[in-house]
Symmetry: C2
């Protein structure tokens, strides 16, 4: 009997005891734990598995190691944490030689150096099939309140930090994790909710809507779309559902957006408003969905989550 990632996550959320030091548990881009000294730690792990998250023939091995770390830096950034240290657990198959293994780690280490993150440990084991990396990282909140998926309010502007869609054509191996932006956004105190876009805009927006208890309206004409390697522009469908964009999606009061865009730490990105958060009751009137898309003619229709979700058990 097949089952979804969401169903298992919901089960774990109910079952996992939340100790006194847990500030944010299962269900957000990263967890937050209060350290002995009082500082808040952000924790997250992300898997990067051959055949699931990359194909070995699509790029040099270094880029898979790079992606493994970049994914988790993106998650830490989305809650406003500065990444500090990482562990890499690697399962390595028999057909990967030492040069290949070093190349894999060289990619990870080069990104670590670039972001001043220290690789401090992990675990090596033999893999029965392909390469599987799992990077766990710790970041510091440094007094900032974490940006969570909950907190979006009706009337908020929905904003993304960059173009979307078609990531699988190459972007998914080369993206810049937006943690510096996330740190500045959290420090501003102006952002109500945030998530890093990994499962597809529509699905990630559903996560925010569910956690915040709101609806949302996405203006399809406003979606920034990625220029693909062949020169074409990603389609609206791709921008909505492809996933692996690793940009941030924010909910913030409309009057705050210009101030956010002016933050010096956001100079490398372009904030684009793609819609609004609406009260659940309003959007709920459209075909039962709280998330609606508005096409170029102004017509509203439900926006299904779509995008990517791991399915198991079949």
């Amino acid at each position: 009997m097949p089952f979804t990632e969401r169903s298992l996550v919901d089960y774990l959320r109910t079952r996992a005891a939340k100790g006194p030091r847990v500030v944010v548990g299962i269900g957000h881009d990263a967890a937050v734990v209060r350290a002995t000294g009082g500082g808040d730690l952000a924790l997250k792990s992300d898997q990067t598995i051959e055949g699931v998250h990359f194909r070995r023939d699509e790029a040099p091995l270094a880029l898979f190691g790079r992606k493994a770390l970049a994914r988790v830096l993106s998650d830490l950034g989305a809650i406003g944490a500065r990444p500090v240290a990482a562990l890499c657990s690697a399962a390595l198959p028999a057909d990967l030689d030492e040069r290949g293994a070093r190349e894999l780690f060289d990619g990870l280490l080069a990104l670590a150096d670039e972001h001043e993150v220290s690789l401090v440990g992990g675990d090596l084991a033999r893999s029965p099939s392909g390469i599987a990396l799992d990077v766990a990282a710790v970041g510091f909140l440094e007094g900032r309140r974490p940006l969570l998926r909950s907190g979006a309010k009706a009337g908020d502007a929905l904003v993304v930090t960059g173009p979307l869609g078609g990531s699988r054509a190459g972007h998914h191996l080369r993206f810049e994790p937006r943690w510096r932006e996330g740190v500045a956004l959290a420090a501003s105190g102006l952002v109500h909710a945030a998530i890093d876009l990994s499962d597809g805009l529509a699905r990630d927006l559903h996560h925010v809507a569910v956690e915040s208890g709101v609806g949302a309206q996405v203006e399809l004409a406003a979606l920034p779309r990625r220029r693909l390697p062949d020169g074409s522009l990603a389609t609206i469908e791709q921008a909505l559902h492809d996933g692996e964009d690793y940009e941030l999606l924010l909910a913030a009061p409309p009057e705050a957006v210009l101030r956010l865009a002016a933050l010096p730490e956001l100079a490398r990105v372009s904030l684009v408003r793609i819609g609004s958060i609406v009260a659940g009751s309003l959007a709920g009137s459209v075909a039962g969905s709280l998330i609606v898309q508005v096409d170029e003619q102004g017509r509203l229709s439900p926006l299904p989550p779509g995008g990517f979700e791991h399915r198991f058990g079949g």
Copy 2:
């Protein structure tokens, strides 16, 4: 061309930049990072992979989830950290249904509850082959100096916290991680070096000897051996090399051992002296090895690492 775990770890140790917050990096049972508030965090991840660390037909699924967390609690304990929170990344194959997945996590969560560790997040993905779990955990040092593999001194007694050998007959899925003992041992200030026994006594002792720059002498007749499910006692060979004992190996001044044994937190274990740390020059005279075994007739011979090491690339 085959290569060993050790060779890749050595490469990573040379290559990984050690940031200003890294107190202990690659090469010990866990890493130590200084938090913003000044407290020291211990970090470690461990993989538990079907076909490598367990066979699906040998026990209920819950015990594999249990083992995945227990391994990392053992590592944190070996450096004297109190485990606080864990992330579990799980790669789940198509032939595992939702009941199986829940059972896997139930085993992990039951041990987490028992040890007051919170599961705060992780990552779920589809596995192209079997079940693969990677648990990363954070622990707090709470002002204690970490117990490292380095620090053993000539003249120290070598002590283990329990019987060794034959773990694969069942112990490897049911062991009690010795973190409470590790915390008390670190707090005592009497222990020079420690390691958790996962790769086999001889191999783990080599890790301590190499990191500490010393030799060691193991009295074979003194080795505590595990009673196996069939009623027999593990052999000396098994006690030396089987691995997955998850007991602690300590180096401490002989006069400190009785005081350590009297610590209330060590009431559940029996400290057994199995040998001594010797200066490199002494043991070096025996067939070029710094690690020697002493048999019941008092004859010395080199003790090769043996035990378990992942081999890759072939």
